[in-house]
Symmetry: C2
Subunit: 265 residues, 2 copies
């Protein structure tokens, strides 16, 4: 028996680059499956089709929000290099396109070369000492999705959940899956899209659909809690970027992401 | 007669989603056409095929460095929404794949919604008062590519070109095309990949091939000089991200990019 994440992101090969999967209702926000959850499913098809162990970079265009239930996926090889492969994955629900992912897969463990970091993991008190925002009464109703995650924020954060939006479009949090497993690159993908929209701190509580999201996997994570730093710098005419950095328990950067999203305010 | 940029990035429709283009040697670095130049060509095919005026987000996987000369492109529609279209463009030289681009096109002028900026354009003295690094003797030989651009840096920058690498993986510069035209979104795409690799400031002068690069176009630029801010925070086992922000002469953010690249040191 796998964890909820492993079970709910499983894909079944259906011949000739085709896959089937069932979207669970356990990863939804107001009835719509979370984008990071959908990306993890598409990434499983991409890894299976490429025969490579790790995602290196995954770019997803989100076309339409699906309902829980069956989806089909196709994987089309784009280019096979010495150590990486580019693949295109398309997810559909019935005839409706859900998303298209273009991704590069390789073997993260074979990376060789120099290292130089100009930034460190965010400093946070131990997760046991911090607040679980699900314990708060304020803000929008807690989505099913949040029931899968153990999330620990600094006292008073997020401000909007305490009834006092901060106006600062950045936050940091500890994150882990409630029933395991230990994090792997696909859990890192999930983590990059797991925090509430940054613009909630501007009291903009409308739906924030993602147009495009790119996730870089920089290393396989060590066991334990992940730290996520989430930030928006530019909301322009209703379009914003949301950047995420994901760090493992050993303080290593394991993932970076940027999404382009829309808000009506 | 168009500018060198317009002439050298032109694509010719060749029926059924096919295009031809000729890579000029005027945008090369040590014989290899610049990645931003190649993206601008692929983006022209993408815009033509989608029938939309502006790129919104362009993601490119670079497979192999081409030589100057003829390339063919194919454009495959992935999804057509109300106001945006996703398209896949593949560029080949003979039988060899050069790059694959997945992009979303729309109409930047129709963006509606709230704005909130948490950062401003970098403060720089007027370009006329700053150094053109091409006038310096140090560093690697000036590529053909740099002869197309007017680039103005702060005194002493880039450090490596003055023989004193700074160890700081960030820089800012003014940039414009030497023979025009005024900037448009495709010039912004070029600008995101126009500065020398950040890791030169670590005295790492080996080739820095791009695995994947995503450019967001946030607005159509005003006429005049562009400002580019370029930064790397994480070089891990030879893999790094390079982020760029491009601002127009009116101080508006017009583009954001992130690339995943490799260095041997």
């Amino acid at each position: 028996m796998g964890s909820a994440f492993e079970t709910d992101t499983a894909v079944t090969p259906a011949g000739e680059g085709r896959y089937e999967a069932t979207l669970s209702d356990r990863w939804s926000i107001l009835g719509a499956p979370n984008g990071g959850y959908l990306m993890a499913i598409a990434a499983r098809a991409l890894l299976h089709a490429s025969g490579r162990p790790d995602p290196t970079t995954l770019t997803t265009h989100f076309h339409r929000s699906p309902a829980p239930g069956m989806v089909t996926l196709t994987a089309q090889p784009l280019h096979t290099g010495r150590s990486t492969s580019s693949t295109l994955v398309r997810m559909r629900q019935g005839d409706a396109p859900v998303l298209t992912m273009m991704g590069l897969a390789g073997d993260t463990a074979t990376g060789r070369g120099p290292s130089a970091q100009q930034a460190q993991a965010p400093e946070l008190p131990p997760p046991e000492e911090l607040e679980d925002p699900r314990s708060l009464g304020g803000g929008p109703p807690t989505p099913e999705f949040q029931q899968r995650l153990d999330l620990r924020c600094l006292p008073g954060e997020p401000g909007w959940a305490h009834g006092t939006p901060t106006g600062r479009l950045e936050t940091v949090a500890w994150l882990r899956l409630l029933d395991g497993p230990e994090p792997d690159p696909l859990v890192v993908v999930l983590a990059t899209d797991a925090l509430p929209p940054t613009v909630f701190e501007l009291s903009m509580f409308s739906w924030v659909p993602t147009l495009e999201m790119t996730v870089h996997i920089r290393a396989r994570p060590a066991p334990g809690w992940l730290r996520v730093a989430h930030r928006t710098r530019f909301l322009i005419d209703g379009t914003l970027e949301e950047d995420a950095e994901v760090w493992d328990s050993a303080g290593a950067l394991v993932g970076q992401s940027r999404q382009l999203a829309r808000t009506r305010g």
